[in-house]
């Protein structure tokens, strides 16, 4: 006998569960964060030019975030599929939309933390300058872009969870979809850093794109997550 829980409570419970698992296992902190840092250093080796690095720093931060997103999503669903927990949540009558929002929230928290570290790394390693009027743009951009990334990641992660060859299928499905986020977040970040002579005000239309993207895929996920994870 299961009582119907409200969407918000399901989402909060699922998010808390995923974050608690991460706090105890520390897989993302101990493995994904160092991986992302390593990618940032590798970019510096590959580009091998301080001016170029400063110019393209925004794009590199978001590329490193995308690579890490793939791993974080796989980790997020590996936790659930390993002992059939996703199946159990579904059978227990939890609202799939709540599971979707909860998992996306947990991914979002991890990604935002990662992005803060990556931006600090960009300031140190790539010598970018962040003026005070760029901060608001950067924060808005990070939040809206991360929301979009988390929604898309959770959606496609749920689809490929438990499927054969999911390690290779997830990037193939997800990367084309998040291309607008890469374009939008990179341009907005470059405006915030004022790299290449960009003005801070140039970045705001891109934040609009990011917000629309997050809204579209958030809604898409809420509507379709149930039919994607259903057996």
């Amino acid at each position: 006998m299961s009582t119907q829980l409200s969407l918000g409570r399901v989402a909060r419970a699922v998010a808390a569960k995923d974050l608690r698992i991460e706090m105890r296992s520390r897989v993302v902190i101990n493995q994904v964060f160092p991986f992302a840092g390593l990618v940032m250093v590798m970019f510096a080796f590959a580009l091998d030019n301080d001016d170029v690095l400063t110019r393209v720093a925004g794009g590199l931060v978001w590329l490193a975030t995308l690579f890490s997103l793939i791993i974080i999503i796989q980790r997020s669903f590996a936790v659930d599929t390993a002992d059939g927990a996703l199946e159990a949540q579904r059978v227990a009558g939890l609202d799939p939309a709540g599971i979707f929002i909860g998992k996306a929230l947990a991914v979002m928290m991890q990604l935002v933390t990662l992005e803060v570290v990556l931006f600090l790394a960009a300031i140190v390693l790539y010598r970018v300058q962040l003026q005070s009027d760029g901060v608001v743009l950067l924060v808005t951009c990070v939040i809206s872009a991360t929301a979009g990334l988390s929604f898309v990641g959770t959606l496609y992660g749920g689809l490929t969870a438990g499927a054969r060859g999911r390690e290779t299928l997830l990037p193939l499905l997800m990367l084309p979809v998040v291309a607008p986020v890469l374009i939008g977040a990179t341009r907005a970040t470059e405006s915030a850093f004022m790299s290449g002579g960009a003005a801070v005000s140039d970045g705001w239309p891109w934040v609009g794109v990011l917000v629309v993207f997050a809204a579209v895929f958030g809604l898409g996920g809420i509507l379709s997550f149930g039919s994607l994870i259903e057996e």
């Binding site: 959606l155 689809l159 499927a163 054969r164 299928l169 193939l172 499905l173 084309p176 979809v177 291309a179 607008p180 374009i183 939008g184 341009r187 140039d202 239309p205 891109w206 794109v209 629309v212 993207f213 579209v216 895929f217 898409g220 379709s224 039919s227 994607l228 259903e230 057996e231």
Partner: protein, 249 residues
């Protein structure tokens, strides 16, 4: 017990008619495109690529519209008829191949007219993303599971792709417009078409559309038979297991 018949033919009068129309119009495209139509004032003979490239691109986009519509029909129809799912799959398969051909012929044409195989133009970039997206769609179709599961998953993916493509197109459009170098394609609306050129292009579009229809109908039948085979094999396996257990008793 009813008698089972095995008719080896897959064609029907409809597909034969569509096929004949496709062959006739394709012959016109080759003859007209290569020999009858005049050179373009600016592009010279390179304009002959248009008679193949434009219809291929049209079919590629048509294929994905068909996939999206068939997927929506599957999701919305109360019966969840597998026919919709197979049409969606068959159309996506044909579409991926035509989209790859579009990119190939387009890049060869681009090499002649603008001196580069590729340009970061919104139309080109969106087409490339569409190709990758539908390769992913076909991968999702191959994930396995029951027919119902395959149909539901792939229908959702097809509809998500419909959301994704305008977003990609718009963001690339905005991206390019904020950069200085304008689209290299801006000059390509300048082809002055006379009657024979326009007719050949139109016949090409009709011919390629017929080819697409023919391919989807046949491919859809192949998929139906593959699904039927799987079901028969499953039934046979189940019957065997049932016999085994009844023997053991």
């Amino acid at each position: 017990m009813n008698v089972q018949t095995f008719n080896a033919r897959v064609a029907t009068p409809t597909t034969r008619l569509v096929g004949a129309m496709a062959i006739a119009s394709m012959a016109w495209v080759v003859l007209g495109g290569l020999f009858v139509t005049p050179k373009d004032v600016d592009q010279g003979d390179a304009v002959r690529i248009m008679y193949v490239h434009v219809p291929t691109a049209w079919v590629a986009y048509l294929a994905f519209i068909v996939t999206a519509v068939a997927s929506a029909c599957w999701l919305l129809s109360r019966k969840h008829s597998m026919g919709f799912d197979r049409v969606a799959g068959a159309s996506a398969e044909v579409g991926v191949i035509f989209m790859a051909m579009t990119l190939l012929s387009g890049s060869l044409w681009g090499r002649i007219t603008w001196g580069a195989f590729w340009a970061w133009d919104p139309r080109l970039t969106t087409t490339a993303f569409l190709l990758v997206t539908y390769i992913g769609y076909l991968a999702v179709r191959g994930l396995g599971g029951s027919l119902e599961q395959r149909a539901r998953r792939s229908a959702v993916i097809a509809l998500l792709a419909v959301l994704e493509i305008p977003l990609v197109h718009f963001s690339v459009l905005l991206w390019r417009s904020l950069h200085q170098n304008a689209s290299v394609l801006s000059g390509d609306g300048d082809i002055k078409m006379d009657g024979s050129m326009l007719t050949t292009l139109l016949v090409g579009v009709i011919g390629f559309t017929c080819t697409f229809a023919w391919l989807v109908m046949h491919r859809q039948r192949v998929l139906a038979m593959q699904d039927a085979m799987e079901m028969t094999q499953l039934d046979a396996a189940l019957r065997e297991r049932a016999n085994e257990s009844s023997r053991l008793k």
